[in-house]
Protein backbone atom coordinates (compact mmCIF):
# COMPACT_ATOMS: atom_id res chain seq x y z
CA UNK A 1 0.00 0.00 0.00
CA UNK A 2 2.93 2.35 0.59
CA UNK A 3 3.63 2.25 -3.14
CA UNK A 4 0.05 3.36 -3.72
CA UNK A 5 0.44 6.37 -1.44
CA UNK A 6 3.67 7.30 -3.19
CA UNK A 7 1.89 6.99 -6.53
CA UNK A 8 -0.88 9.28 -5.28
CA UNK A 9 1.68 11.85 -4.15
CA UNK A 10 3.50 11.64 -7.48
CA UNK A 11 0.21 12.03 -9.33
CA UNK A 12 -0.41 15.22 -7.37
CA UNK A 13 3.10 16.50 -8.02
CA UNK A 14 2.91 15.89 -11.77
CA UNK A 15 -0.70 16.93 -12.01
CA UNK A 16 -0.10 20.08 -10.02
CA UNK A 17 2.18 21.59 -12.62
CA UNK A 18 0.56 20.01 -15.65
CA UNK A 19 -3.10 20.15 -14.78
CA UNK A 20 -3.95 22.12 -11.65
CA UNK A 21 -2.29 25.37 -12.62
CA UNK A 22 -4.17 25.37 -15.90
CA UNK A 23 -7.53 24.47 -14.41
CA UNK A 24 -7.41 26.06 -10.95
CA UNK A 25 -4.82 28.73 -11.57
CA UNK A 26 -7.59 31.30 -12.21
CA UNK A 27 -9.07 30.53 -8.80
CA UNK A 28 -5.71 31.03 -7.12
CA UNK A 29 -5.18 34.21 -9.10
CA UNK A 30 -8.64 35.42 -8.06
CA UNK A 31 -8.13 35.28 -4.33
CA UNK A 32 -4.51 36.42 -4.63
CA UNK A 33 -5.43 39.54 -6.56
CA UNK A 34 -8.33 40.12 -4.23
CA UNK A 35 -6.12 39.72 -1.16
CA UNK A 36 -3.61 42.21 -2.47
CA UNK A 37 0.01 41.97 -1.49
CA UNK A 38 1.62 42.42 1.86
CA UNK A 39 5.07 43.75 2.43
CA UNK A 40 5.57 41.18 5.14
CA UNK A 41 6.69 37.87 3.64
CA UNK A 42 5.14 35.77 6.38
CA UNK A 43 1.68 37.17 5.87
CA UNK A 44 2.11 36.89 2.11
CA UNK A 45 2.11 33.10 2.11
CA UNK A 46 -0.35 32.45 4.94
CA UNK A 47 -3.43 32.84 2.65
CA UNK A 48 -1.96 30.25 0.27
CA UNK A 49 -1.14 27.84 3.08
CA UNK A 50 -4.65 28.13 4.49
CA UNK A 51 -6.30 27.85 1.08
CA UNK A 52 -4.37 24.68 0.28
CA UNK A 53 -5.08 23.28 3.75
CA UNK A 54 -8.80 23.82 3.15
CA UNK A 55 -8.55 22.21 -0.26
CA UNK A 56 -6.78 19.12 1.11
CA UNK A 57 -9.37 18.85 3.89
CA UNK A 58 -12.07 18.58 1.22
CA UNK A 59 -10.09 16.01 -0.72
CA UNK A 60 -9.49 13.96 2.40
CA UNK A 61 -13.18 13.96 3.27
CA UNK A 62 -14.12 12.77 -0.21
CA UNK A 63 -11.34 10.17 -0.13
CA UNK A 64 -12.52 8.82 3.20
CA UNK A 65 -16.07 8.66 1.83
CA UNK A 66 -14.86 6.76 -1.23
CA UNK A 67 -12.77 4.40 0.87
CA UNK A 68 -15.64 3.77 3.25
CA UNK A 69 -18.16 2.99 0.51
CA UNK A 70 -15.61 1.09 -1.56
CA UNK A 71 -17.24 2.28 -4.74
CA UNK A 72 -16.33 5.25 -6.91
CA UNK A 73 -19.32 5.43 -9.25
CA UNK A 74 -22.11 5.38 -6.67
CA UNK A 75 -20.26 7.89 -4.49
CA UNK A 76 -19.37 10.14 -7.42
CA UNK A 77 -22.99 10.09 -8.52
CA UNK A 78 -24.11 11.32 -5.13
CA UNK A 79 -21.49 14.03 -5.14
CA UNK A 80 -22.14 15.20 -8.70
CA UNK A 81 -25.01 17.54 -7.89
CA UNK A 82 -23.14 19.10 -4.97
CA UNK A 83 -19.97 19.54 -7.03
CA UNK A 84 -21.85 21.27 -9.80
CA UNK A 85 -23.38 23.60 -7.22
CA UNK A 86 -19.89 24.38 -5.94
CA UNK A 87 -18.84 25.29 -9.48
CA UNK A 88 -21.76 27.72 -9.69
CA UNK A 89 -20.95 29.26 -6.31
CA UNK A 90 -17.23 29.44 -7.14
CA UNK A 91 -18.09 31.29 -10.33
CA UNK A 92 -20.21 33.79 -8.44
CA UNK A 93 -17.50 34.34 -5.83
CA UNK A 94 -14.91 34.91 -8.56
CA UNK A 95 -17.16 37.42 -10.28
CA UNK A 96 -17.58 39.30 -7.00
CA UNK A 97 -13.83 39.23 -6.44
CA UNK A 98 -13.23 40.49 -9.94
CA UNK A 99 -15.72 43.29 -9.52
CA UNK A 100 -13.92 44.31 -6.35
CA UNK A 101 -10.51 44.19 -8.02
CA UNK A 102 -11.64 46.35 -10.93
CA UNK A 103 -13.29 48.76 -8.56
CA UNK A 104 -16.64 48.44 -10.30
CA UNK A 105 -18.17 47.34 -7.02
CA UNK A 106 -16.78 48.75 -3.81
CA UNK A 107 -17.66 45.68 -1.86
CA UNK A 108 -20.40 43.38 -0.70
CA UNK A 109 -21.80 46.38 1.14
CA UNK A 110 -23.20 47.45 -2.22
CA UNK A 111 -25.64 44.57 -1.95
CA UNK A 112 -26.40 45.17 1.68
CA UNK A 113 -30.09 45.66 1.09
CA UNK A 114 -30.21 41.98 0.05
CA UNK A 115 -29.25 40.91 3.52
CA UNK A 116 -29.34 37.13 3.05
CA UNK A 117 -27.36 34.50 4.91
CA UNK A 118 -25.40 33.65 1.79
CA UNK A 119 -24.34 37.25 1.25
CA UNK A 120 -23.28 37.49 4.88
CA UNK A 121 -21.18 34.35 4.47
CA UNK A 122 -19.65 35.60 1.23
CA UNK A 123 -18.94 38.96 2.85
CA UNK A 124 -17.22 37.23 5.77
CA UNK A 125 -14.99 35.32 3.35
CA UNK A 126 -14.19 38.17 0.98
CA UNK A 127 -14.01 41.15 3.27
CA UNK A 128 -12.95 39.86 6.64
CA UNK A 129 -9.51 41.05 7.61
CA UNK A 130 -8.49 37.68 9.00
CA UNK A 131 -6.26 35.43 6.86
CA UNK A 132 -8.26 32.46 8.19
CA UNK A 133 -11.01 33.26 5.69
CA UNK A 134 -8.93 31.46 3.04
CA UNK A 135 -9.37 28.13 4.80
CA UNK A 136 -13.18 27.94 4.21
CA UNK A 137 -12.56 29.23 0.70
CA UNK A 138 -10.20 26.32 0.03
CA UNK A 139 -12.66 24.00 1.75
CA UNK A 140 -15.41 25.04 -0.65
CA UNK A 141 -13.35 25.12 -3.82
CA UNK A 142 -11.81 21.73 -3.02
CA UNK A 143 -15.17 20.25 -3.96
CA UNK A 144 -15.02 21.56 -7.51
CA UNK A 145 -15.40 18.75 -10.07
CA UNK A 146 -12.04 17.73 -11.50
CA UNK A 147 -11.11 14.87 -13.83
CA UNK A 148 -7.68 14.39 -12.27
CA UNK A 149 -9.08 14.10 -8.78
CA UNK A 150 -11.71 11.64 -10.02
CA UNK A 151 -8.86 9.35 -11.08
CA UNK A 152 -7.42 9.58 -7.58
CA UNK A 153 -10.82 8.99 -5.98
CA UNK A 154 -11.05 5.72 -7.93
CA UNK A 155 -7.86 4.69 -6.20
CA UNK A 156 -9.26 5.79 -2.85
CA UNK A 157 -12.36 3.66 -3.39
CA UNK A 158 -10.05 0.75 -4.09
CA UNK A 159 -8.34 1.05 -0.71
CA UNK A 160 -11.53 -0.25 0.90
CA UNK A 161 -11.11 1.68 4.12
CA UNK A 162 -12.10 5.04 5.63
CA UNK A 163 -8.64 5.97 6.89
CA UNK A 164 -6.84 4.45 3.93
CA UNK A 165 -9.00 6.40 1.49
CA UNK A 166 -8.44 9.61 3.41
CA UNK A 167 -4.69 9.06 3.57
CA UNK A 168 -4.52 8.12 -0.11
CA UNK A 169 -6.19 11.30 -1.33
CA UNK A 170 -4.36 13.44 1.21
CA UNK A 171 -1.08 12.26 -0.32
CA UNK A 172 -2.39 13.41 -3.68
CA UNK A 173 -3.45 16.77 -2.26
CA UNK A 174 -0.07 17.33 -0.64
CA UNK A 175 1.56 16.57 -3.98
CA UNK A 176 -0.39 19.40 -5.60
CA UNK A 177 0.75 22.00 -3.06
CA UNK A 178 4.13 22.92 -4.60
CA UNK A 179 2.54 23.93 -7.90
CA UNK A 180 -0.44 25.89 -6.57
CA UNK A 181 1.45 27.43 -3.68
CA UNK A 182 4.28 28.68 -5.86
CA UNK A 183 1.82 29.91 -8.48
CA UNK A 184 -0.04 31.84 -5.80
CA UNK A 185 3.16 33.39 -4.49
CA UNK A 186 4.19 34.44 -8.00
CA UNK A 187 0.76 35.96 -8.61
CA UNK A 188 0.99 37.83 -5.31
CA UNK A 189 4.40 39.18 -6.22
CA UNK A 190 3.25 40.25 -9.68
CA UNK A 191 0.09 41.87 -8.34
CA UNK A 192 2.30 44.06 -6.21
CA UNK A 193 4.42 45.01 -9.17
CA UNK A 194 1.73 45.84 -11.65
CA UNK A 195 -0.33 48.92 -11.28
CA UNK A 196 -3.38 50.66 -12.51
CA UNK A 197 -4.92 49.34 -15.67
CA UNK A 198 -2.97 46.07 -15.78
CA UNK A 199 -4.14 45.24 -12.26
CA UNK A 200 -7.72 46.08 -13.18
CA UNK A 201 -7.40 44.02 -16.37
CA UNK A 202 -6.54 41.09 -14.13
CA UNK A 203 -9.80 41.72 -12.33
CA UNK A 204 -11.66 41.64 -15.63
CA UNK A 205 -10.06 38.29 -16.46
CA UNK A 206 -11.13 37.01 -13.04
CA UNK A 207 -14.70 38.08 -13.82
CA UNK A 208 -14.56 36.22 -17.12
CA UNK A 209 -13.26 33.05 -15.51
CA UNK A 210 -15.96 33.35 -12.87
CA UNK A 211 -18.57 33.43 -15.59
CA UNK A 212 -16.94 30.37 -17.16
CA UNK A 213 -17.09 28.37 -13.91
CA UNK A 214 -20.68 29.52 -13.35
CA UNK A 215 -21.87 28.48 -16.79
CA UNK A 216 -19.97 25.19 -16.64
CA UNK A 217 -21.65 24.34 -13.36
CA UNK A 218 -25.10 25.20 -14.74
CA UNK A 219 -24.52 23.13 -17.92
CA UNK A 220 -23.21 20.15 -15.95
CA UNK A 221 -26.19 20.39 -13.62
CA UNK A 222 -28.52 20.30 -16.62
CA UNK A 223 -26.91 17.07 -17.82
CA UNK A 224 -27.69 15.21 -14.57
Amino acid sequence: MEAGYLLAFTTGLLGGFGHCIGMCGPLVASYTLHAGYSERTRSAFIPHLLYNAGRITSYASIGSFMGLTGTFLNSAGRLAGFQNSVSVVAGMVMVLMGLGITGVVKGISSFERHNSFILKAVKAVLESGSPWRYYPLGLLLGFLPCGLSYSVFIGAAGTGGFLQGMYFVSCFGIGTIPALFSFGMVMGYLSHKVRGRIYRAGGVVVIGMGVYFFVRGILSYAEL
Binding site: G18, A76, T102, P145, G147, S151, R195, R200
Partner: protein, 177 residues
Amino acid sequence: MEKIRESARIQGMWRDNFILYRPMTYAKQKIAGATVLFCFLLLLGCDTGQEKIKTDCAISEGQCIKTAAADGTAATFDIQPKPVKTMTSLVFSVDLNKADRAVADASVTLALTMPGMYMGDNRYLLKHKGEGRYEGEGVIVRCPSGRKIWQAEVTITRPGHKSEDAVSARYIFEVEK
Protein backbone atom coordinates in the same frame (compact mmCIF):
# COMPACT_ATOMS: atom_id res chain seq x y z
CA MET B 1 -3.98 65.74 -9.23
CA GLU B 2 -5.51 65.76 -5.75
CA LYS B 3 -8.91 65.03 -7.27
CA ILE B 4 -7.48 62.03 -9.18
CA ARG B 5 -5.85 60.67 -6.04
CA GLU B 6 -9.00 61.17 -4.02
CA SER B 7 -11.07 59.46 -6.70
CA ALA B 8 -8.68 56.50 -6.77
CA ARG B 9 -8.70 56.21 -3.00
CA ILE B 10 -12.49 56.19 -2.86
CA GLN B 11 -12.66 53.50 -5.52
CA GLY B 12 -10.33 51.28 -3.50
CA MET B 13 -7.52 51.49 -6.02
CA TRP B 14 -5.03 53.20 -3.79
CA ARG B 15 -1.53 51.87 -4.14
CA ASP B 16 1.92 53.31 -3.52
CA ASN B 17 2.95 55.72 -6.23
CA PHE B 18 -0.54 55.53 -7.66
CA ILE B 19 -0.24 59.14 -8.57
CA LEU B 20 1.77 58.04 -11.59
CA TYR B 21 -1.29 56.35 -13.11
CA ARG B 22 -4.46 57.92 -14.22
CA PRO B 23 -7.43 55.86 -13.02
CA MET B 24 -10.06 54.80 -15.48
CA THR B 25 -13.34 56.54 -15.12
CA TYR B 26 -16.18 54.55 -13.68
CA ALA B 27 -17.94 54.42 -17.04
CA LYS B 28 -14.83 53.20 -18.86
CA GLN B 29 -14.35 50.44 -16.31
CA LYS B 30 -17.87 49.24 -16.94
CA ILE B 31 -17.39 49.31 -20.69
CA ALA B 32 -14.07 47.45 -20.45
CA GLY B 33 -15.55 44.85 -18.16
CA ALA B 34 -18.60 44.32 -20.31
CA THR B 35 -16.45 43.97 -23.44
CA VAL B 36 -14.19 41.34 -21.93
CA LEU B 37 -17.15 39.51 -20.45
CA PHE B 38 -18.80 39.43 -23.85
CA CYS B 39 -15.62 38.03 -25.41
CA PHE B 40 -15.38 35.34 -22.76
CA LEU B 41 -18.99 34.35 -23.32
CA LEU B 42 -18.25 33.96 -27.02
CA LEU B 43 -15.24 31.82 -26.22
CA LEU B 44 -17.16 29.52 -23.92
CA GLY B 45 -18.44 27.45 -26.81
CA CYS B 46 -15.07 27.27 -28.49
CA ASP B 47 -11.79 25.49 -28.11
CA THR B 48 -12.03 22.50 -25.82
CA GLY B 49 -8.31 22.19 -26.44
CA GLN B 50 -8.55 18.96 -28.49
CA GLU B 51 -9.70 20.24 -31.86
CA LYS B 52 -6.37 19.33 -33.49
CA ILE B 53 -6.39 15.74 -32.23
CA LYS B 54 -7.82 13.23 -34.68
CA THR B 55 -9.46 10.07 -33.50
CA ASP B 56 -8.65 6.79 -35.22
CA CYS B 57 -11.14 4.57 -33.44
CA ALA B 58 -14.94 4.92 -33.49
CA ILE B 59 -15.30 2.99 -30.26
CA SER B 60 -18.97 3.85 -29.77
CA GLU B 61 -19.78 2.19 -33.10
CA GLY B 62 -17.74 -0.99 -32.90
CA GLN B 63 -14.38 -2.60 -32.27
CA CYS B 64 -11.05 -1.20 -33.35
CA ILE B 65 -8.28 -3.37 -34.78
CA LYS B 66 -4.63 -2.47 -34.87
CA THR B 67 -1.40 -4.32 -35.41
CA ALA B 68 1.32 -4.03 -32.83
CA ALA B 69 4.11 -3.01 -35.16
CA ALA B 70 6.97 -4.82 -33.50
CA ASP B 71 5.83 -8.42 -33.87
CA GLY B 72 2.68 -8.27 -35.99
CA THR B 73 0.23 -9.19 -33.22
CA ALA B 74 -3.27 -8.01 -34.10
CA ALA B 75 -5.03 -6.38 -31.16
CA THR B 76 -8.78 -5.83 -31.31
CA PHE B 77 -9.88 -3.26 -28.74
CA ASP B 78 -13.45 -2.87 -27.56
CA ILE B 79 -15.43 -1.18 -24.78
CA GLN B 80 -18.88 -2.20 -23.61
CA PRO B 81 -21.58 -1.03 -23.23
CA LYS B 82 -22.12 1.35 -26.13
CA PRO B 83 -22.22 4.24 -26.59
CA VAL B 84 -19.16 4.67 -24.43
CA LYS B 85 -19.88 7.17 -21.69
CA THR B 86 -17.86 8.66 -18.90
CA MET B 87 -18.51 7.98 -15.22
CA THR B 88 -20.13 4.60 -15.91
CA SER B 89 -18.89 1.08 -15.31
CA LEU B 90 -17.20 -0.17 -18.49
CA VAL B 91 -15.76 -3.47 -19.66
CA PHE B 92 -12.53 -3.11 -21.64
CA SER B 93 -11.54 -6.04 -23.84
CA VAL B 94 -8.62 -6.85 -26.09
CA ASP B 95 -8.50 -9.84 -28.45
CA LEU B 96 -4.99 -10.88 -29.47
CA ASN B 97 -4.16 -12.83 -32.61
CA LYS B 98 -0.92 -13.63 -34.29
CA ALA B 99 -0.74 -15.51 -37.57
CA ASP B 100 -4.44 -16.43 -37.17
CA ARG B 101 -3.77 -17.97 -33.77
CA ALA B 102 -5.10 -16.63 -30.47
CA VAL B 103 -2.43 -15.38 -28.11
CA ALA B 104 -3.35 -16.80 -24.72
CA ASP B 105 -0.19 -16.39 -22.69
CA ALA B 106 0.40 -12.63 -22.73
CA SER B 107 0.32 -10.10 -19.96
CA VAL B 108 -1.89 -7.24 -21.16
CA THR B 109 -2.20 -3.83 -19.57
CA LEU B 110 -4.44 -0.99 -20.67
CA ALA B 111 -3.44 2.60 -19.95
CA LEU B 112 -5.99 5.38 -20.44
CA THR B 113 -4.69 8.89 -20.97
CA MET B 114 -6.14 12.13 -22.26
CA PRO B 115 -4.12 13.80 -25.02
CA GLY B 116 -3.19 17.29 -23.91
CA MET B 117 -4.29 16.92 -20.30
CA TYR B 118 -2.73 14.93 -17.51
CA MET B 119 -5.46 12.86 -15.89
CA GLY B 120 -3.47 10.72 -13.50
CA ASP B 121 -2.62 7.05 -13.67
CA ASN B 122 -5.53 5.08 -15.17
CA ARG B 123 -4.04 1.67 -15.73
CA TYR B 124 -5.78 -1.71 -15.81
CA LEU B 125 -4.34 -5.21 -15.91
CA LEU B 126 -6.60 -7.24 -18.16
CA LYS B 127 -7.28 -10.87 -17.30
CA HIS B 128 -7.32 -13.65 -19.84
CA LYS B 129 -10.84 -14.99 -20.37
CA GLY B 130 -10.03 -17.59 -22.97
CA GLU B 131 -9.25 -17.81 -26.69
CA GLY B 132 -7.02 -14.79 -26.67
CA ARG B 133 -9.57 -12.43 -25.08
CA TYR B 134 -8.41 -10.23 -22.19
CA GLU B 135 -10.91 -8.25 -20.15
CA GLY B 136 -11.07 -5.76 -17.30
CA GLU B 137 -13.56 -3.41 -15.70
CA GLY B 138 -13.00 0.26 -15.17
CA VAL B 139 -14.22 3.81 -15.54
CA ILE B 140 -13.40 6.64 -17.91
CA VAL B 141 -13.63 9.76 -15.77
CA ARG B 142 -15.37 12.91 -16.96
CA CYS B 143 -13.36 16.00 -17.74
CA PRO B 144 -15.42 18.99 -16.53
CA SER B 145 -13.71 21.27 -19.05
CA GLY B 146 -15.47 19.39 -21.86
CA ARG B 147 -12.64 17.34 -23.30
CA LYS B 148 -13.84 13.98 -24.62
CA ILE B 149 -10.94 12.48 -26.52
CA TRP B 150 -9.02 9.70 -24.82
CA GLN B 151 -6.16 7.42 -25.77
CA ALA B 152 -5.98 3.76 -24.86
CA GLU B 153 -2.55 2.14 -25.01
CA VAL B 154 -2.55 -1.64 -24.93
CA THR B 155 0.81 -3.07 -23.86
CA ILE B 156 1.45 -6.74 -24.54
CA THR B 157 4.23 -8.68 -22.84
CA ARG B 158 4.88 -12.31 -23.80
CA PRO B 159 6.37 -14.81 -21.33
CA GLY B 160 10.08 -15.20 -21.54
CA HIS B 161 10.44 -11.69 -22.90
CA LYS B 162 11.77 -8.64 -21.08
CA SER B 163 9.48 -5.72 -20.32
CA GLU B 164 11.41 -3.59 -22.79
CA ASP B 165 10.43 -6.08 -25.50
CA ALA B 166 6.74 -5.44 -24.90
CA VAL B 167 4.71 -4.34 -27.91
CA SER B 168 1.87 -1.88 -27.85
CA ALA B 169 -1.03 -0.53 -29.86
CA ARG B 170 -2.70 2.86 -29.40
CA TYR B 171 -6.29 3.84 -30.02
CA ILE B 172 -7.57 7.40 -29.94
CA PHE B 173 -11.31 7.67 -29.49
CA GLU B 174 -14.04 10.01 -28.39
CA VAL B 175 -16.46 9.28 -25.58
CA GLU B 176 -19.83 10.71 -24.74
CA LYS B 177 -20.25 12.73 -21.58
